[in-house]
Amino acid sequence: MATGGTSTISGAAGLARRFWRHADALLLLLLGLLVLLGSRSLAFGDLQNPGPGLFPICIAMILLMAAAVTVATPLHGTSAGAETGHRAKETLARFLPLVGITGASCLFALLAPRVGLLAASLACVLVATVVCGNRHPIRVLLFSVLLALATAGLFIEILRLPFPYF
């Protein structure tokens, strides 16, 4: 039983490794197919009168060819795909910068039209500072307030952008 379990795990790991090894080619294949699919509703036209679908189809073909070459190229084995597989498995903390940085930016976008530039900036910096590894509450707060004030002041007072403070 134990042997079977181990082989199942190693089989799954091998599959994951193979997936990440070819992730770049798979991404290109997926993109190519999506573009082909998206171009279906666009008229192809003819050479004398090219339609809006002609150019996207050419792009899809390039993407699919690039996917094929990426699979076939000998350098492919040295790509970061396999590394990514290992890393992705490590911990969820790996994704903290990805989620945190984009989240801080999205939070700013959500808040800015509702509560003005100052509060939105403050929220954005607070999240970003914590995500970047600063865990000292007073420093984080002080830095966030000062940066939000300075940046909002720069954009509103000096660059004269038409956004409210609050």
Binding site: L31, Q48, P56, I59, H76, A104, F108, A128, L147, R160
Partner: protein
């Protein structure tokens, strides 16, 4: 030409334009000094600041940032063996070795002086070469333009980092993103996913900030290293006679080489510095001295990267074709300011063209003063922890994107491009060709369709027009060269070395 240059100096020496130039070169030096934020991310971040500026001031500032970053990058290369951006990677080899021998000040002086000489020579070249090239460009038809763009995109893909196939795919993805929105000939919507915000196309600033700002910050945080490197002490900035002799000719050669490679599609500061180093090592009587602190190993690449940064404006201002991704962004900034980059800029916007050319020389002079006496200040900036630096960049980027159209959607889009850029970096795709494809996509499609319309559907138009035939021939030859196994192995080796 002299009259035009004097006119340009008149424009560039106004107080406001001097201030814009100063802000640009200072920000450029800062971007160059700080590892992880390259000129591409820097220009993208600075772009929103230029919306409320007059067009000439905006372009002077962005140009200053690009060539200023080449200066700043050399400082950390020499003092810490930590290149601020890719074009300073080779400077670290001999610059840091000189610093280890107690000649850090001399290495910094060589880097600054050679960059200044290169800046002066390439400014002259820009003033000399641009007007005749613009006149030639006016005779280009749609087929010629299509072939020129194809050549530029293939060169950019081949000269980029990593696999050629992946770079070509990035160009294709950029072309696709560039055509999102209303098709100009039929008025049909393409790839808008039902979102009204995408009907006018994807915002350039969102793409640039997401791909080169957010994704690089995320990547840097993940790969963050806390090691502190010792800064080499700076004793004296003066050069010995031998050092002056050793760096004089490499500076001239580097300036000429960089000026030439900067103009070529796909060329730019990074390629020029690598080629210059290889050339100096090959023709040197003491090739073994390279890597051990050879003055020529600093002077050649530093002059080459600065010259290339400046002459890479020639294709943009004369043909309307950016040769690399940073210039593509600056071209985008021109469009946002209501100026169409191309052969008509010189005639219709002489104050802009000659003002920017003259500002480059003034900017180089400012950089000389900023980088030599104030070198200690720039080194101090390296001590700012990323826990404070990155949040400031993220906020600045978010407000910048938001202020473009006053829409939250653009910020969400930038965040999405940040995720995409991170994924691409993880899978070792080079995002720079994507940017070039994005900017050139509409131009490529428009000229392709116009050429076919004018030739009544005859595809042979692309090979019967002499200029188009030559350009397509060059593009095909380049593609063949890049895919040759021996060249592919060599590329792989060069990029592996630069990564280390």
């Amino acid at each position: 030409m002299l009259d035009n240059l004097l006119f340009g100096f008149g424009v560039a020496l106004s107080w406001s334009n001097l201030a814009f130039c100063f802000v640009g070169v200072t920000a450029g030096t800062l971007i160059g000094v700080l590892p992880g934020i390259g000129p591409l991310a820097g220009v993208a971040l600075l772009l929103p600041l230029t919306y409320s500026l007059p067009p000439i001031g905006a372009i002077i500032m962005l140009a200053g940032m690009y060539y200023g970053a080449q200066y700043g990058g050399s400082t950390t290369s020499i003092l810490l063996r930590l290149p601020g951006d890719s074009s300073s990677v080779v400077t670290a080899l001999d610059g840091y070795a000189m610093a280890q021998r107690g000649r850090a000040g001399a290495a910094l002086t060589i880097a600054a002086l050679s960059s200044f000489v290169a800046g002066t020579l390439s400014t002259l070249l820009l003033a000399l070469a641009a007007p005749p090239l613009a006149a030639v460009a006016l005779s280009f038809g749609p087929a010629d333009y299509f072939s020129l763009v194809v050549l530029g995109l293939i060169a950019a893909a081949g000269l980029g980092h990593g696999s050629v196939a992946k770079s070509v795919a990035m160009v294709a993805l950029g072309l696709l993103l560039g055509i999102v929105g209303i098709d100009i000939t039929t008025g049909m919507l393409r790839f808008t996913l039902g979102l009204r915000e995408l009907e006018d196309g994807i915002d350039l600033v969102s793409v640039a900030i997401g791909l080169f700002g957010f994704s690089h910050i995320i990547f840097s945080l993940e790969e963050s290293r806390s090691e502190q490197r010792a800064v080499a002490p700076i004793h004296k900035l003066s050069l010995t006679r031998q050092e002056l002799r050793d760096s004089a000719l490499p500076t001239v050669r580097g300036s000429l080489l960089g000026s030439l490679l900067g103009v070529l599609p796909g060329g730019g500061a990074v390629l020029s510095s690598f080629v210059s180093y290889a050339l100096e090592k090959r023709i040197s009587k003491q090739p073994d001295a390279f890597g051990q602190g050879a003055a020529a190993g600093v002077a050649g690449p530093e002059s080459a990267n600065n010259a290339a940064a400046q002459t890479s404006f020639i294709p943009l201002l004369t043909l309307g074709i950016p040769p690399n991704a940073v210039i593509a962004l600056i071209g985008g900034a021109m469009v946002l300011q209501g100026i169409t980059p191309g052969p008509e800029v010189i005639d219709k916007q002489p104050a802009l063209f000659w003002g920017v050319v003259a500002s480059m020389w003034i900017g180089n002079l400012m950089l000389l003063l900023l980088n030599l006496p104030l070198v200690g200040l720039w080194v101090q900036l390296l001590k700012i922890p990323q826990t404070y630096l990155f949040p400031a960049v993220i906020l600045f980027a978010s407000i910048g994107v938001y202020s473009t159209n006053g829409r939250a959607f653009d910020v969400f889009l930038a965040a999405a491009f940040g995720v995409l850029g991170y994924g691409l970096l993880k899978l070792r795709f080079e995002p720079a060709p994507l940017m070039l494809g994005f900017v050139l996509g509409p131009l490529l499609e428009e000229n392709f369709k116009r050429a076919l319309l004018l030739s009544r559907g005859d595809l042979a138009v692309f090979v019967t027009e002499p200029k188009s035939l030559v350009l397509l021939g060059l593009a095909t030859a380049l593609l063949c060269v890049f895919t040759l196994p021996s060249i592919a192995r060599r590329r792989h080796k060069v990029f592996a070395e630069s990564d280390n």
